[in-house]
């Protein structure tokens, strides 16, 4: 297996005054180019912390992240993030939000007109071109998340990092966006690492599912291959044996072997 993105013995310890909490313990993972990997685990186990380490927004206590065999430890557009709560800048329009990243990343390689076209192209990819002049407060939650995805895609990242991108959306909107992301992955072939706590979402979208044990000192408990052909259709999968088996495996992991103690 060729390692495109490699997480190498990552530990993370938070220190607050005298108190220290070990959140992540010895995380090892390799991801291939074009792969769609989900990380699933109970709330508070350290998923966002892991994603932030990959994004370079948090430093690992020990261990590191290798992207194409080069260590990355500071944030950059090659690892664009779609944040949990969209994080669009409310004083900018939809267009300007996407443009912010594009202007920086393609400052030297694209002309002004090309950058403009590129922003519009990426807004069209997520069906948001019509809202280019709207402000984030004027569009729905699902639309905001679409713009967040466009902003990340427009930076042409090597790895797209999604932190529970659909967590705050209603079920219908979520299904719609999941289909969009699947279609984009199919079309553009991005390498995607997505955090989720939704079992169906993980199985539907991923090539592999990384299951994390409960914190503190969360580890990778199990990695599951999802042997489903693409393109996938959610309706057909509902009765697919392989799909149901994967779903069962993840459910067993989360609710039997690594029950969320506080929720009990």
């Amino acid at each position: 297996m060729t390692a495109y993105l490699k997480l190498d013995h990552i530990d993370k310890v938070f220190t607050r005054g005298a108190a220290t909490t070990e959140v992540l313990k010895d995380i090892n993972l390799t991801i291939e180019e074009g792969e769609y990997v989900s990380i699933i685990g109970h709330s508070g186990c350290g998923k966002s912390t892991l994603l932030n380490i990959i994004a370079g927004l948090t430093r690992a206590t020990t261990g590191g992240v290798l992207l194409e065999n080069r260590e990355v430890n500071s944030p950059g557009p090659d690892r664009a993030v779609v944040f949990q709560n969209h994080s669009l800048l409310p004083w900018l329009t939809v267009y300007e939000n996407v443009k912010l990243g594009v202007d920086k990343v393609f400052a030297k390689t694209k002309s002004r007109a090309e950058r403009d076209a590129w922003v519009m192209h990426n807004l069209s990819l997520v069906q948001m071109a019509h809202a280019r002049d709207k402000r984030p407060s004027e569009i729905s939650g699902g639309m905001k998340q679409r713009v967040g995805i466009a902003r990340a895609l427009a930076m042409e990242p090597k790895v797209l990092l999604l932190d529970e991108p659909f967590g705050a959306l209603d079920a219908l909107t979520r299904a719609h966006l999941q289909d969009s992301v699947m279609a984009l992955h199919q079309k553009l072939g991005n390498t995607i690492l997505m955090i989720t706590h939704d079992v169906d979402e993980a199985v539907l979208l991923s090539d592999r599912i990384v299951m994390m044990t409960n914190g503190p000192s969360a580890r990778i408990g199990e990695v599951l291959d999802v042997p489903l052909a693409r393109p996938r259709k959610r309706l057909e999968l509902a009765t697919n044996a392989a799909y149901l088996k994967c779903r069962q495996r993840v459910l067993e992991f989360l609710y039997e072997r690594h029950r969320f103690v506080e929720a009990a």
Partner: protein, 298 residues
């Protein structure tokens, strides 16, 4: 309030008118007139009660002060005494014998100058204090003490330092209005959501871009709160400072009127001072509303 409502109306109307074909305009007509009718109603609701109160208060004032031997003139006498000042605010007989327009504009110029300085310095210091934990620890206690010093207490010191009335007055405005600007800006900077910082980090904005594109817009609602308190304090300070410094300016006009026992002129001047203070406050509030459009909602 009503001014902004009209503005929004205009803003949304223009693109619709240019983009939509002629047919689309037809059904838009009735709601428009309805909207205007509603606006008129809302304006009336807001304007009529204060007018009634003002009329009643004026009436009471007239009745109380009309009696012979009253210390203060009734409104009718105020109007009679100051009619010339009201009708001709632009006369200029040299020295300080000028129309009210010249006094007010001299005061406003001082405020504009001192307040601009304090806005620039206040925002800069606020950013510093909000950004850096050490600047915060070092400077905040100092600010908290200095900001409680009354404006006029600074005047003798600044007269000693500058040896001239004009820069002293401007300094008093500066030093009075800067504290709320610093403190509010610092709070705004400290409250920038981590999310926005993360976005900036992923996009790799440099410090200058971060300042212009994230920091200032994100903190703008707080900054404008500080600016609004600041403009009020500036106006308070200038009127008081001018009384002591003399020369052309509404503050000294009041003092001069008192020395010549022109009580009616004092009342007229107070009226103008109040109106202008109100307009300055609305101006900054309106500017804030335009600039922070969008930001405030999140």
């Amino acid at each position: 309030m009503n001014m902004t409502a009209t503005k929004i109306e205009v803003e949304t109307a223009t693109p619709a008118a240019t983009a939509a074909p002629v047919v689309a305009l037809m059904p838009k007509r009735p709601p428009r007139t309805e909207a205007y009718a509603r606006m008129v109603r809302e304006t009336a609701v807001r304007v009529i009660p204060p007018l009634v109160v003002i009329a009643l208060l004026t009436l009471i004032w007239e009745l109380v002060c009309r009696r012979a031997g009253s210390a203060l003139p009734p409104p009718s006498k105020v109007f009679k005494d100051t009619k010339e000042l009201i009708l001709d605010p632009f006369f200029d007989n040299g020295g300080i014998d000028k129309g009210l327009f010249w006094h007010l504009s001299a005061s406003l110029q001082r405020v504009a100058f001192g307040y601009s300085l304090s806005a620039i310095a206040g925002i800069a210091l606020g950013v510093l204090v909000g950004q850096s934990v050490w600047a915060m620890r070092g400077l905040d206690p100092l600010f908290q003490v200095l900001r409680t010093i009354p404006p006029l207490a600074w005047l003798p010191l600044s007269l000693a330092a500058f040896r001239d009335g004009q820069p002293s007055a401007i300094f008093v405005i500066f030093i009075t209005s800067i504290w709320p600007i610093i403190i509010n800006t610092a709070v705004g900077i400290r409250n920038i959501p981590q999310d926005y910082r993360n976005v900036a980090a992923v996009v790799q904005l440099n410090p200058l871009e971060f300042f212009a594109k994230i920091m200032i817009p994100a903190a703008a609602p707080y900054i404008f709160t500080g600016l609004r308190i600041g403009i009020g304090l500036s106006w308070l300070a200038i009127v008081a400072a001018e009384m002591l410094i003399g020369g052309v300016g509404i503050g000294f006009f009041i003092w001069d009127a008192w020395n010549s026992s022109h009580i009616s002129e004092i009342i007229l001047a107070l009226f103008y001072v109040g109106i202008i203070g109100f307009v300055l406050d609305r101006l900054i509030a309106g500017l804030g509303k335009v600039v922070t459009r969008g930001t405030a909602q999140n």
